[in-house]
């Protein structure tokens, strides 16, 4: 761990006042502290934001507002979240461990870094950690890596479960900087790696995530998050699916579909949503629609199973949704 300056601003305005390079915000610390110990992240200045008033889960004009410092556990347990957006609660509860969920914040969850083993090991190259040094994952051990959205520079998967469910729900993040406040759709917030994998999100220097807004969507009360992994708990997704469906009798009127464990960012699947609309709510429709999930996939040596797993995960999630009364 490198030496750093530690500050504890008392207000949001103080926290964003001096956007010096090499500044990191500390919330739950479950990613940052780990990566600092590994010297993957070496901030010169750490701003502890835990005293800032970025809390609360409440209904607003724009939808459900979740303060960025709310802990994963508290959001998952919140009555509004559980009733209106079960997929959110399920995504949170399928994440990490109880201890981590007690600590980790919602804002930090969206900004967590990839679990790519090369990124986390400073003895090997990594374009995300050390731009231009190369990507050993492309030819290396890449069973967990992305088949969607990857580039020649980076194939790392985005690890958040929560972000997958939020992308399906058209959530936005509210950002605060010296220049003011702006809202960004979560779908656009995470960036594709392209030639600059070190740039992971549309966050300007010194800008702070203050809230997550989930728009009202009545029929999201019938939604599921299905996570497929090698062990049953405390493990990242090989594939996951966040699915909500509005039914009109036995027909699917509308659907929201996003997948995790597949892409370099949380991956919304509009083609699958379109293919489901107007179809009977039945396994054959799901299987046919899931075919569209893997358009444009680029499998690597060890993750060639992922497209098939993604399609099957979608079918399973849609079937599980059917069973919810």
């Amino acid at each position: 761990m490198r030496e750093f300056r530690f500050e504890r601003p008392g207000t949001v305005a103080d926290a964003v006042r001096r956007p010096a390079p090499g500044t990191a915000f500390l919330a739950g610390g479950t990613t940052l502290v780990d990566l600092m110990k590994l010297e993957v992240m070496t901030p010169a200045r750490v701003l502890d934001i835990n005293r800032l008033p970025l809390r609360g889960i409440d209904q607003t004009r724009d939808g459900l507002r979740i303060g960025a410092l709310e802990r994963m556990r508290d959001v998952a347990a919140h009555d509004l979240v559980r009733r209106r957006y079960p997929m959110l609660a399920q995504a949170l509860e399928a994440s990490a461990s109880g201890q981590l969920r007690n600590m980790a914040s919602i804002g930090g969850n969206l900004l967590q870094r990839t679990r790519c083993g090369y990124f986390r090991d400073v003895s090997v190259p990594c374009n995300k950690r050390a731009p231009g040094s190369g990507c050993p994952a492309i030819e290396g051990e890449n069973r967990m890596h992305a088949v969607l959205g990857a580039s020649d520079a980076c194939v790392a998967t985005h690890p958040s479960d929560l972000a997958v469910a939020l992308v399906a729900l058209d959530a936005t993040v509210r950002l605060r900087s010296r220049a003011g406040t702006r809202d960004v759709a979560l779908r656009d917030f995470h960036l594709l790696p392209g030639t600059t994998p070190e740039r992971e999100h549309d966050l300007r220097p010194g800008e702070l995530v203050t809230d997550v807004i989930v728009p009202d969507l009545g029929w999201a009360s019938r939604s599921v998050y299905v996570k497929i992994r090698d062990r049953q708990s405390y493990e990242f997704a090989l594939a996951s699916a966040a699915v909500a469906v509005r039914r009109d009798g036995d027909t699917i009127a509308e659907a929201r579909v996003a997948v995790g464990g597949m892409g370099t960012r949380p991956w919304r699947l509009p083609a699958v949503e379109a293919a489901l609309a107007g179809r009977p709510a039945a396994e054959a429709s799901y299987t046919a629609a899931a075919e569209h999930a893997t358009d444009g996939v680029r499998p690597l040596r060890h993750n060639a199973f992922k497209p098939a797993l993604m399609r099957r995960t979608l079918v399973r999630a849609l079937l599980e949704l059917e069973r919810i009364r």
């Binding site: 986390r120 497929i228 493990e235 090989l238 099957r312």
Partner: protein
């Protein structure tokens, strides 16, 4: 009348200390003047160090010393053909594998040492390492074991002839012990006397090994490991990091502690070697074996390590067959040291054998339990000796009943529960046990306590409690009165190594011998000491029962006697002999039954149920025995479904963290039904107890794999069995 605690549920005597954080482990000692060391590891797979730049590290805050091959601290290489590592660190510039120790930074705090170590850069002349077992050809044979029926020239002829033939090749990558306590050493010198605190399975062997590395008299080294957070083979030798810590402490003239980071543990200490095995069977149509051949090619590091023999105690023991051949080969690779890991040969070997048996059952249509009964061995297939006490047939039958084996569909992929495919599998476990020499000291104290001391170690598996139970049983006293002592090389020599599931079975009889001897000492003092109320009596007229001495109507507690004669304590040493040239073969046995479910769409594999029945002789402590069995079975589930550390062409382990190297979590483990038969072994020792610690690990992976086949119709030969192999 006190009831013997043998076989009862005795809570761990060390439990309260551990759950309240008061049991000191190796890194919990803080001698005055302590400084901290952090290792620097090589980042190339093979080559030579040309130079290392340590200037920034030396200038970093708090740094006291930096040791490298270019500014070493002296260590002596004492490798003599067998042992873990065949080199000692920092004595040359050769890099033998990626992750080898190439430096040690010492600083005032752990964080200062760690952060300074990260500032060191190394310049290597590298050459490509050999890391792939798959790409390597057959290795060099160790002993070839062969038994041929009269008139058979080559086992290959029988294996070709059939009528039924099976060839099964299975592979598994490197596995790691991942003991909960990371390896750590605290070394402190007082003049020329060294005390080392370091987790050790054999404190009385590790201490002289460290002495030899330092070139000093073994009597000058004391190793203390009262509490050790898991061994499983990974703490049976003294690794280079412990020797280096002791040497640097000597050079610095102050106490030094070296704690490995979790990542460093993966390469600094040994792992279970990657291995490829082929089992070939020839059988009659009814499943009776005509020939069994088991070949293996196991990773063997150029830097030294454990020579894996997976067939010896599996295919070489389990079934009656007229023709048998075991060829266990080693393949030299440039990998970190390999070492014994929980049922070292038996866990991988049994997966190969018991998978092949399941394939034979499927081919012949004979039920897997029935197949094993048809090939039941009553004597050791190679040695010809009868087994000392074998009731494995009852394990099969009782296990099948408890589990509900009759509900298993013979046809794979024919039972479902909703979207889940259901399958059942079984397997046989066997583990060699023996009777080794052991020495124990029993000491009566005038405060009413009795200490029972052995130079063995407790890795967390229950030896503390076994000493207490054995002492209580021998002396007719409550368990609470017994004060066990272990984990210290300065205890009387002859402590059994905590290896090979040997501690309980071998220490028990020594406790009895020592207890009898100590009672003899007590009785002698009673009649010989003028201050004793028994003074002058004929020794035959004084007896010991349940902590009291009796003669006629006179009776007093041993503590009263000691106080009366003014002696704080009296003790005696008891020793037992090894079972040499026994007419019997000693093995423990068991049968595993497993039910899994596999999702029809996403192919996740979950274990629904597990039942195991064991035949291990007398069980000393039911509670810790059950924990051992359950832990072993969980280990087997991990072996089957999760554990893997792929090695890359440059020698880097791709999963050398606890986030990437998956072991089961609670959610992966169902209720495990464990039962044992309870027949004392009449030949092993007077206690009737055989070893059991590792038995649960043996073949439990095969039961899982066989259940996956029964559920899906897919046979996965490359471990671990992950869902992508079933899609």
């Amino acid at each position: 009348m006190s009831v013997s605690p043998i076989g009862r549920e005795t809570a761990r005597v060390d439990g309260p200390l551990k759950v309240t954080g008061r049991a000191p482990y190796a890194a919990d000692y803080h001698p005055d003047g302590l400084v901290h060391g952090h290792l620097v590891l090589a980042t190339v797979g093979r080559g030579t160090l040309r130079a290392m730049d340590v200037t920034r590290a030396e200038a970093a805050p708090g740094v006291i010393a930096v040791y490298t091959p270019f500014q070493p601290v002296r260590l002596i290489n004492t490798f003599q053909g067998f042992g873990a590592e065949n080199y000692v660190p920092l004595q040359d510039t050769t890099v033998r594998f990626r992750g080898q120790i190439i430096g040690l930074v010492v600083a005032g705090t752990f964080e200062q040492a760690r952060d300074a170590a990260a500032l060191i850069t190394a310049d290597y002349a590298g050459t490509p390492p050999r890391t792939s077992l798959a790409d390597a050809g057959p290795g060099r044979s160790q002993d070839i074991v062969q038994v041929l029926a009269p008139g058979v020239a080559s086992i290959d002829d029988v294996l070709r002839a059939g009528p039924v033939t099976i060839t099964t090749t299975v592979t598994q990558p490197a596995q790691h012990h991942v003991a909960m306590e990371p390896h750590a050493t605290t070394a402190t010198w007082e003049d020329d006397q060294l005390t080392v605190y370091s987790g050790a399975q054999m404190p009385q062997r590790s201490a002289p090994a460290i002495a030899a590395g330092l070139g000093i008299d073994p009597a000058k080294v004391r190793l203390i490991c009262r509490y050790t957070g898991g061994g499983f083979g990974g703490r049976s030798p003294a690794w280079n990091e412990a020797k280096l810590c002791a040497a640097a402490a000597r050079a610095l003239g102050r106490p030094l502690k070296v704690v490995l980071s979790r990542e460093q543990v993966f390469t600094t200490v040994g792992h279970r070697p990657a291995v490829r095995q082929t089992v070939r069977l020839a059988a009659q149509a009814d499943g009776r074996l005509l020939a069994l051949a088991h070949d293996s090619d196991a990773e063997y590091p150029a830097a030294g390590g454990w020579p894996l023999i997976p067939a010896q105690h599996t295919s070489g023991v389990l079934y009656r067959t007229p023709n048998l051949r075991l060829d266990q080969r080693l393949v030299t690779l440039d990998t970190p040291s390999t070492w014994a890991m929980r049922a070292p040969g038996e866990a991988p070997g049994s997966f190969a054998l018991e998978t092949a048996l399941d394939e034979l059952a499927a081919r012949t249509g004979v039920d897997p339990v029935e197949l094993r009964l048809r090939n039941y061995a009553t004597q050791h297939p190679v040695e010809g000796r009868p087994f000392s006490s074998k009731h494995l047939d009852q394990c099969y039958r009782l296990g099948a009943t408890r589990f509900g084996w009759d509900r298993r569909p013979a046809r794979p992929r024919s039972r479902t529960d909703g979207d889940w495919l259901i399958g059942m599998g079984m397997s046989t476990a066997a583990y060699p046990t023996d009777r080794e020499a052991a020495t124990v000291r029993v000491r009566f104290h005038d405060n009413g306590r009795v200490s029972v001391a052995s130079g063995t170690s407790d890795l967390g598996t229950g030896a503390w409690t076994v000493l207490a139970v054995a002492g209580a049983d021998t002396l007719g006293l409550p368990v609470e009165v017994i004060v066990p002592e272990l984990g210290d090389s300065a205890l009387p020599p002859g402590g059994v190594g905590a290896v090979g599931s040997a501690v309980t079975a071998n220490t028990m009889p020594a406790v009895r011998a020592a207890g009898r001897a100590a009672i003899g000492t007590l009785l002698r003092a009673a009649v010989e000491n003028p201050r004793s109320p028994f003074h002058g009596l004929d020794p035959a007229d004084v007896s010991y029962r349940q902590g009291r001495l009796h003669s006629g109507r006179r009776s007093m507690g041993f503590d009263e006697l000691l106080r009366a004669i003014g002696t704080p304590a009296l003790d005696a040493i008891g020793a037992t002999d090894p079972a040499q040239d026994s007419p019997y073969a000693f093995h423990s046995f068991g049968a595993h039954f497993c039910e899994v479910r596999v999702h029809r769409l996403t192919a996740e594999i979950r274990v629904n149920r597990f039942t195991s029945v064991f035949d291990v002789g007398t069980v000393i402590n039911a509670r810790t025995a059950r924990s051992q069995f359950i832990g072993g079975i969980i280990w087997g589930i991990g072996h089957a479904l999760l554990e893997a550390d792929p090695i890359e062409p440059d020698g880097r382990y791709a999963a050398a963290t606890m986030a990437d190297y998956l072991v089961p979590v609670n959610a992966d483990i169902p209720d495990i039904d464990v039962h044992w038969l309870g027949y004392p072994d009449p030949h092993i020792s007077e206690s009737g107890a055989r070893g059991l610690g590792e038995l649960g690990t043996v073949a439990s992976a095969a039961a899982v794999g066989n259940a996956v086949y029964n559920a899906t119709g897919i046979r996965v030969h490359d471990l671990p069995i992950t869902l992508d192999k079933l899609l």
